[in-house]
Structure formats: C-alpha cells, structure tokens
Amino acid sequence: MNRGPTATRIWGVVLVGCVFALTILGYFYTPYEPHEVRVLERFQPPSGEHLLGTDHFGRDIFSRILVGGRISLLIGIGAVFLGSVLGTTLGLVAGYRGGAWEEGIMRISTSIQAFPSILLALLFATIWEPGIQVVLWSVSIGNIPNFLRLTRNQVLSIKKRPYIEAARALGARDWRIMLRHIIPNLRDALLVQFTVSLAGAILVEASLSYLGVGIQPPTPSWGRMLREAQNYTSLAPWTLFPGLFIAVTVIGFNLLGDSWIFRRDDVLKRE
C-alpha cells in the first residue's frame, strides 16, 4: 500500500467519516429501538433482519452500535478538548514566562503523568459514582501533560525567533504575542496531538466502561457492550462487533494524525 501522505489522509478521512456518518445517522434512525428487549430473539446471528445480530437480551446490536458511537465520539472529543485547552494554556504560560512558573507547572505535569488515565478513573470512581463524569475528567486530566509539554517545547523554540523579538520591540504585550504570533504556529502540532489523543481517549473510554466504572447501563457504549459480550464470545462471536468499531475509529484518527504530520513536513520542506 502506498503509505504516502495522500493515501494516509484519504484512508483517515474515509474511516473517520464513516464512523461520524453512522453516529449522526443514529440520531435520526436506528433499525430497532436500541433498548428494546426481546428475550426470545437473543443471540440471533447476523442476518437481513438483524444486520449484526442480537445480544443476550435480544437487542439489535447494529442499533446499539449506532447509538453507542455517540458516547465514544462525544466523550473522546469533549475530554480531549478540555484537556487540550487546559494543557495548552498551562504550556503557554510555562514556556513563555519561564522561571518559577515553568518549574511549578512542569512539576504538576510530571505528577499527573505518574497516574495513567485508568488509575485516575478508578480513583474518581471511588470518590463519585461510576459514570460519564468519571470518564470525562480522568481522560481530560490524563491528557493535560501531553498538550502541556508539546506547547511548552514549541513555545521555547518559537519565542526566540526574530519576528517575536520584532513584535516585542514594537511594544506588543505578552498576551497579544501569544495569541497572534505563537498560537497560530502551534496549530499543526496541536492538531496532530489532538487526533492521536482522541484515538487514545476512545480506547480509555472503552476500557473504563469495560471495567465497569465508565458508562452505566442501559446507555449503550462500545466498551460497555464488549464487557457484556465477554461471556458469550464462543456462543455468539458477533457480540464482539463493537470492538471492530472501536478499532476502525482509533485507526482512522491515527491515520488522520499521520497525514497532518506529513503535511507539516511538506510545508517545512518548502520553507
């Protein structure tokens, strides 16, 4: 396969596009009501009637995947967005101000990094009830250091460039320099980090729901569906379809991220 930038981007767009399209479709149409229990139709294999079969309560798996995609995407995007805003802000301050600010912020970042998201989530789940807020906060806090370090490193190199010195010589204030001259230069790097983090966040959500501290029934989420399927894998392997969707989404976002790296490298080469 051609691993060039174009092929990567196309595959990324196609995979992510499909997942988004199906999730949006889920808002308007599902073949069956996703919560509807029909015990007499449990463990039906995939067929024209049930595209991806039915689960242990006779619920239509395809309908549940359509609805479950919401959770994965919304939590993924929401949590990573929150983490990126916090991380970028802190990174800007650390990189631009330096000194004690930098020292303090980097210490905090290191201590957050010592806890993997899953561990944070288990901690939150004992403080609050398991649920959506646990996933949201643990994923976003877990993502802060990634964005923080990236931003700080970029800022450290950008702030020495001549145009920043020029802006400062012209009397521009700090916040103006950050907003107008530094952030636009961070955009590509942040986008790449965003897509990679998104893929990670979707996996973490799935793992947490799988462990039982994430999304609670009856809300379908792909991770939760996998947890419920684990006893029936030999009897009804089609109950594992949500796993395929997780994989496709994660690969899609990773490919998108890669394609941005290629693009940025192209731009740098041209410069």
């Binding site: 242990h56 309560f57 006893n231 029936y232």
Partner: protein, 492 residues
C-alpha cells in the same frame, strides 16, 4: 556401564514416584470465587465461609440434603412435654487436635454463640435461656417452645469448638471430616482428611483444595484444563461454554435462594400499596427467566422457595400476574403516572444486575422513569441493607432450613428488614409460628406468605438455578438447601 546404572536408577525412581502418587490418595480441586471472611464460627457472616466450614465444623445436629436435621455430635436428644427443655447426649468424638469432645465444650460453644459481645448473630439463638451440663448430657432451656430452635443448632454459628481453643479465625479446630491444613489468602485453602472422625467413615478424597478464582471465565478454563475438578456454583452466563463438553457434567438444582426486588416501603410513593402493586404487575417474570437465567430458574410467587416443600404456599400464582394495563391503571389511580425511581443493583452479582436491567425496561413500558445505579457490594450493604436509603433494589436471600429464619426478616422490628415493611397481622403470625408445631405451623406460614404476596414488601422473582459443574467421573455430589459443599460425600 555407569550410564546404564544411572538409567536403571532413574526408572526405579520414576516407578516409585508414580506408584506413591496412587498410595498417597486422591486430591480434589474446587473453584470458589472469594476468600472466606473468618473461620471463627461466631464471627463469620459470609455464605462463602459457611460453604467451606461445613466440612470442618459440626454442631450438635447437622442439615441433611432433604432439609431436615440429624444428629451430628449429639447421638440423640429428648424434649420434655413443655417443649422448652432439650437434653442432648454426645457421641464419642474427637476434635482435630486429638482431644475428646466434652459436654463443657458444647456449653462453652453455645454460650459464646449467644453472647452479643462476641457473636455477630447472637440474636438467632436468643430463644435459649440457659445451657447446663447435667449428668451425661447437656440441657438447654428455652424461654418458650420454639419450632426453629433445632434448625438453628445446625447453623455455622452453633458449631462446637473446644473450650481451650485459641483464635479460630485463621486456625479453625472442629470435628468435621476435614481440617484446614493451609490457607494462602487469595490463592487457596488446603483441606486434609481427618482420619479420626466419629462416624468411622473415610471420605474418598484425602486432600480437598479450594482454589480462589474470582472470574467465571477463568473458572471454566481451569475446569476444562483439568486444574479444577468441581465448580459448585457456576455462573449461569458461562454454562454454554461447558454444556457440550463431553468431559464435563453439569447438575442443575434449585438453590433455595429467593431473588427479590426489595421496595423501600417507608419511602413515598412506595408506601402506597397501589404503587407497589403496579410495580409487581409490571414485572414479566417469564421474560426474566429466559433473559437472565437461561430458562433454568424456578419462578417464585412467594417469599419461600419451592425447595422448602413442607411450607411453600403454591396457591399464590395468580396474585401478581404480568398485567401492564392494570399496572398503568393503578399508577394513574395513585397519581403516579410520571413515577421516577432509582434501582440500585449490586455489581458483583451478574444475575441480579441483568434482572434489574430487564425489569427497568419492563417498567419503562409503564411510563416509569428508571435510573439504574450499579454499586459495589460494600456500598450496597451500607446504603441499602444498613441505612435503608434506597427506592428499589434486587438481591438474593439465601435459604435456611427453617421457614422462620427466612420469614422473620419481614417483621417490623427485625434488624434485617431492609424493606421497612410493617404489618401487624404478619408480625403476630410470625410470633405464633415459632410457638406452633406440626400441621398448624404450616397453616400459619401459608397465611404469612399470602400476606407478603398481597402487601408486597418486595416482588419475588425466582429461585435461580444452582449449577454444579464437574469433571466426568466425580460422583456423589449432594445438593443441600443451605449454602454448602459436602466434600466427604464425593468420590471418583
């Protein structure tokens, strides 16, 4: 030449090793999901402990698979005409440490078991007024006649331990057919055959190891791989993994467990019988049996399991049939068309969680908004059982030999009445039941069950199937109405 000699030595050594394996006797490996809490009979509350302790400890009497009691350490006993003075006569029996069981040990054990300072379930023996050693026997005086008394003597807490015993929680000393040789927490409990049991019988297995395997899938894999010979309680959701395996046999027997939707009767709007009745009529039990128990459970209409054959009220089937139309009507009557409720489920019991999920959907069809809360076992015990701070929950109430022990929890003052149920007639019946004997006693409990079905402290769902999965060739598995595994009856 030297090589040949060493080869010969090797062969001889192998023969000796293999041969001695046969001589040393048989080993049985049993998979259980959780560690016991304490082996001190008066300190334990976990059913998981009772399951193992059954093989280590014995009381004056013990349960039979039919749900009756027979003499264990007591060879026989007499009751006086007032029904309040029992005299027990001991057999010649030895404790695991080799000392003889004396009348003083019995008095010590029972007095300890009814001392609220030491024993967590002292209240279950509060009918005893006095325990005395008389010539060649032990005399137990009751405050009044009590039909449940003889059954309570078969419970773990009434086990007979030596008066000179030290801390029993880690090093139990009993009289049972097996003794605890080694306990590696979270790994295994190694039981060994006690060769001086009073019965004179020698169980087939010399060693019985209880292996701790928390995950049901790992249990099944271990059974298939031959590392485990017996899973006494197989989770119904993994049954299909062993069903068609020609090397594995699965026995399905009633568990004598009452699965119940407990309703907080003290909390509005559930204090309104119409609301409780609507919830009950909205439950489609056949659907739950298929969806959660793979069609293997026994549907319940009463607070007793049909396994309690002598007392079960079998005429209650029509009291709470599935009738969503009537349920909606009742909600409307009660002004609760937009009822919202929280359903609290114990996360460690997949059967109860699945039952809860199914019923939540059934209730939603009535227009009820159901919020599912799946909580850890500790949280469940604290919030639902102790503080009674909940709307509706699902739990299984473990079987006992005597109906009183099961039904007394619905009386107004019971500490185990987490339903907050209160009914004067019911309280009076339970009081009466314990003083009554024979056929009349049965009548009393039939009426008590009818009241529970009508007044609905909770909604009775099913007696789930107990599935015992074992390697082909393991024989003699005995099913008890209580939560035990009888190792001594097994052989290969």
């Amino acid at each position: 030449m030297y090589k040949k000699a060493s080869f010969a030595v090797l062969i001889v050594a192998t023969i000796i090793l293999v041969g001695s394996g046969c001589v040393f006797g048989q080993v049985l490996n049993i998979a259980i999901p959780q560690d016991p809490d304490s082996f001190d009979p008066v300190k334990t509350v976990a059913a998981a402990t009772g399951e193992i302790a059954f093989n280590i400890y014995e009381g004056l009497v013990k349960a039979t698979p039919l749900g009756e009691v027979e003499g264990a350490l007591a060879s026989h006993w007499t009751v006086d005409e007032t029904g309040t003075i029992y005299t027990f006569y001991l057999r010649h029996a030895l404790f695991h440490d080799g000392t003889k069981v004396q009348e003083e040990d019995v008095a010590f054990s029972l007095n300890r078991a009814r001392d609220p300072e030491v024993a967590v379930r002292a209240s279950e023996l509060d009918m005893i007024e006095d325990v005395n050693v008389v010539d060649e026997g032990i005399e137990i005086r009751l405050s009044e006649p009590n039909g449940a008394f003889i059954y309570s003597l078969s419970e773990v807490y009434a086990s007979i331990v030596p008066a000179h015993a030290g801390d029993l929680s880690r090093k139990p000393v009993g009289t049972g057919p097996y003794y605890l040789d080694e306990w590696t927490p979270n790994q295994q409990l190694a039981l060994r055959r006690f060769d001086h049991h009073w019965s004179g019988e020698t169980p087939y297995f010399e060693e019985a190891n209880f292996l701790l395997i928390p995950d049901e899938n790992s249990m099944v894999l271990n059974l298939k791989a031959g590392r485990v010979d017996l899973i006494p309680r197989l989770e119904v959701g993994v049954l299909h993994q062993v069903e068609r395996d020609p090397d594995i046999e699965v026995l399905s027997v009633p568990m004598n467990l009452v699965q119940v939707f407990s309703i907080n009767n003290a909390r509005a709007p559930f204090d309104d019988l119409r609301v409780r009745k609507a919830l009950a009529l909205g439950v489609n039990r056949p659907e739950i049996l298929i969806g959660a128990a793979w069609g293997l459970g026994t549907m319940l209409d009463s607070a007793l399991s049909p396994a309690m054959a002598g007392f079960y009220n079998d005429s209650l089937a029509e009291v709470n049939p599935y009738d969503p139309a009537k349920a909606k009507e009742l909600l409307k009557d009660a002004g609760q068309e937009n009822l919202k409720l929280t359903l609290t489920l114990p996360a460690n019991y997949p059967l109860h969680v699945q039952t809860g999920e199914l019923v939540a959907e059934q209730w939603k069809a009535l227009g009820i908004e159901v919020d599912l809360q799946i909580v850890e076992w500790g949280t469940w015990l604290e919030r639902v059982y102790t503080q009674r701070d909940y709307d509706v929950s699902v739990i299984g109430l473990a079987g006992r030999l005597d109906p009183h022990a099961i039904l007394v929890r619905y009386t107004t003052d019971s500490s185990r009445n987490f339903f907050n149920f209160s009914n004067e007639r019911y309280d009076a019946l339970i009081d009466l039941g314990i003083k009554t004997v024979g056929r009349e006693r049965r009548e009393v409990y039939l009426e008590a069950q009818a009241i529970l079905a009508e007044e609905l402290p909770g909604i009775f769902i099913m007696d789930p199937p107990q599935l015992a999965a074992m390697k082909k060739g393991i024989q003699g598995f005995k099913n008890y109405p209580t939560y035990v595994v009888d190792v001594a009856s097994l052989y290969r």
